[in-house]
Each structure stands twice: as structure tokens, then as C-alpha cells.
Subunit: 188 residues, 2 copies
């Protein structure tokens, strides 16, 4: 759990005693490649923090087309946040792309932790702030950028993801076709 | 400032003494129709809470096309959050569509308030949670919905906005053409 402590301490320092308490709220889980962590229609009980592995969250529209919302690698958080925060059924899927180890946090645990420890309330607020900022950038990019600009922004914001994830999925995330993406890769 | 207290108390109760302190962090401002609250390239010093009036946040791409990110009416918050949280220059514009009265909160004031009052840290976290959830819905809608579906979802999530904002801007927000939107209005 040391990685989790480092991750929290990027935002706020915690004492040994506090961290000993914080970690009691998390449950460790291993998941295999191709296994679903969340499936459309499930109750979403947890958000997940990735110790190792790669996951992707995607939405399938009524025509069966997959649209990728998010990737998650080591040190990232993932869930169907809409369903998690509202305790409703998932509208998206989250699948494991590479054997993973994760920490699970229920909403009840998250709220208890935030309520008991002001610094954890702060930690969760700051994580949300970063997520919200990156979502704003994605909305602007989806609304107004052409494929080349989308690719270039993605490559500059997420160089590690670009190296780890097959091109097929990057193309889906960016909403561009695979051939266009291959051309962009070749030109960079 | 009573409306602000009601707004905060939708999430967490505050005592008279606490609210007397909280309101010292906000500054009231009046802005006129057509006036810019934030302009692309400005430093973004504040986030804004709307007492009355209507505003819209939009991005102008390199071809001069406007893309709407958000509307804000009474009781809503608005800013260029990306620039506000990172204290960088605005990449978007926020304009007043109808004479408005707003409360301004600097990032320094926001962080001080959150750090001194755990319940305000909680308030800001919960507001961000709601914003993040609604952004997730918007990204899914932009990626996968056709114009009719986008319009229907928007109408069900934001019926008040639909009544207050000219169709031209709703069409821009949804990324659909005006003629399509007019047909959808007529059919509903």
C-alpha cells in the first residue's frame, strides 16, 4: 500500500497513524486481462485505484458501437462516476486490458473517510479538480479539434498512455478512424 | 447573500456565525448584457456564482467558430476552471447574455475557506462531483448520440435552460445545426 501513500502525499502529507487508518478503507483485488470490472447495468459499488495494469472505460451505443471514455494505468482512478456517485446502475463498461491489481473504495467508505479526515476530503476534492480540468480540455477538443489536433493534444497530455495502449483504442478514444491515426503516428 | 446560504445548505448546514465568515470571502459584482466576464488570454482570477442573469462560456477555434461549453443561470457556478485552478490564461470566453449579478470567489479565497472550514471543503467537493458527473454524461452524448438524442437528453436534464436560452445557442451547445434543432422543437 506504500504506493497509495505516495499518491495521497502528492497532495497532502499524512502521518503513519493516519495512513494506517486510511488503508483500512481499501480492499485489494486482482483482475485478469479481458475481465470486466464494471458492466453496463451493474450497481457500481466502488471506485478503483490502479496499483498495476491497464483498464479502459467505454460506452456502447444502441448501434453496438464502442466509445472510449477513459483509460487507467498505474496510479490512476477509474469508475463509472455517474453511477458510483448516484448509486445507480452503470451505463458504461470497464474492462481489464492487462492483468491488474487494484484497490477498491466503496462510496460509503469514501464519504466516511472524507468526513472523518479533513485532509482526505481535501485529497478527493483536489483529485476531482484535476479530473474536471482534463474533462474540460476533452470536451473542447471533441467539439472543435480536427483529428490531427486531437491526436497531438492527447500525445502531449498523456505520453505514457500513448505508448502502452494499442492504436485501435487510441483511435476510438479520439473519435478518429484507425487509418487517420496511423498516418498521424507516421508523421510524428 | 441569503441565496448563497440556501445554496450551501443544500449540501451542508452552516451556523449564522460560519455564514457570516463565509460571505466575507465573496465579492458582489454587476455585469451588463454583452459584457465579457472572462476573455480568452485573460488571467482567470475568480469563479463566479450567479445571483441572477444568464451567462455562457464558449470556445472559439482557430477558424473562428464558436463552441459552447456551458450556460449558467441563477444558482450556478461558472468559470474557465482549467485556467482558474491552474492560475493560467483563459482559453475560453464567458459573456453575459442578460444583465447579471454575481458573486466572485478568488482561488486563494476558495482554498482558504476550504482549508479553514471542513464543511466548505465538503461543499466544494460535492459541487465538483455533480459537475464531473454531468460532464461525463455530456462526453458520452457528444461521442455517441445523434442530434435528436442530444436534444432529448439536454431537454430532460436542463428544462429551465431550454426555456431561457435562444435556440441558436442551444444548437451550438449540442453541436447540431439550427434547422435540425428547429425540427426537434416542433416535434416535442
Amino acid at each position: 500500500m506504500d504506493e497509495l501513500r505516495n499518491h495521497i502525499e502528492e497532495i497532502t502529507p499524512v502521518s503513519d497513524e493516519e495512513f494506517a487508518y486510511i488503508k483500512t478503507f481499501f480492499t485489494k483485488k486482482k483482475i485478469k486481462k479481458h475481465q470486466y470490472l464494471v458492466q453496463n447495468g451493474d450497481k457500481v459499488l466502488c471506485e478503483y485505484w490502479i496499483i498495476k495494469g491497464t483498464l479502459r472505460a467505454f460506452y456502447i451505443n444502441k448501434d453496438g458501437k464502442e466509445h472510449i471514455l477513459q483509460f487507467a494505468i498505474k496510479n490512476w482512478w477509474i469508475s463509472d462516476y455517474n453511477a458510483y456517485f448516484n448509486q445507480t446502475e452503470a451505463s458504461i463498461n470497464i474492462i481489464c486490458m492487462e492483468d491488474a491489481e487494484i484497490l477498491c473504495l466503496t462510496l460509503y467508505a469514501r464519504e466516511k473517510l472524507a468526513s472523518e479526515l479533513h485532509k482526505m476530503e481535501h485529497f478527493f476534492r483536489m483529485k476531482l479538480t484535476l479530473l474536471y480540468s482534463s474533462q474540460q480540455k476533452r470536451i473542447i477538443s471533441l467539439l472543435s479539434d480536427n483529428p490531427k489536433e486531437r491526436y497531438e493534444k492527447f500525445a502531449s497530455y498523456y505520453p505514457t498512455i500513448l505508448q502502452k495502449i494499442p492504436k485501435k483504442y487510441i483511435a476510438e478514444y479520439l473519435g478518429v478512424c484507425r487509418e487517420t491515426l496511423s498516418r498521424l503516428y507516421l508523421n510524428n
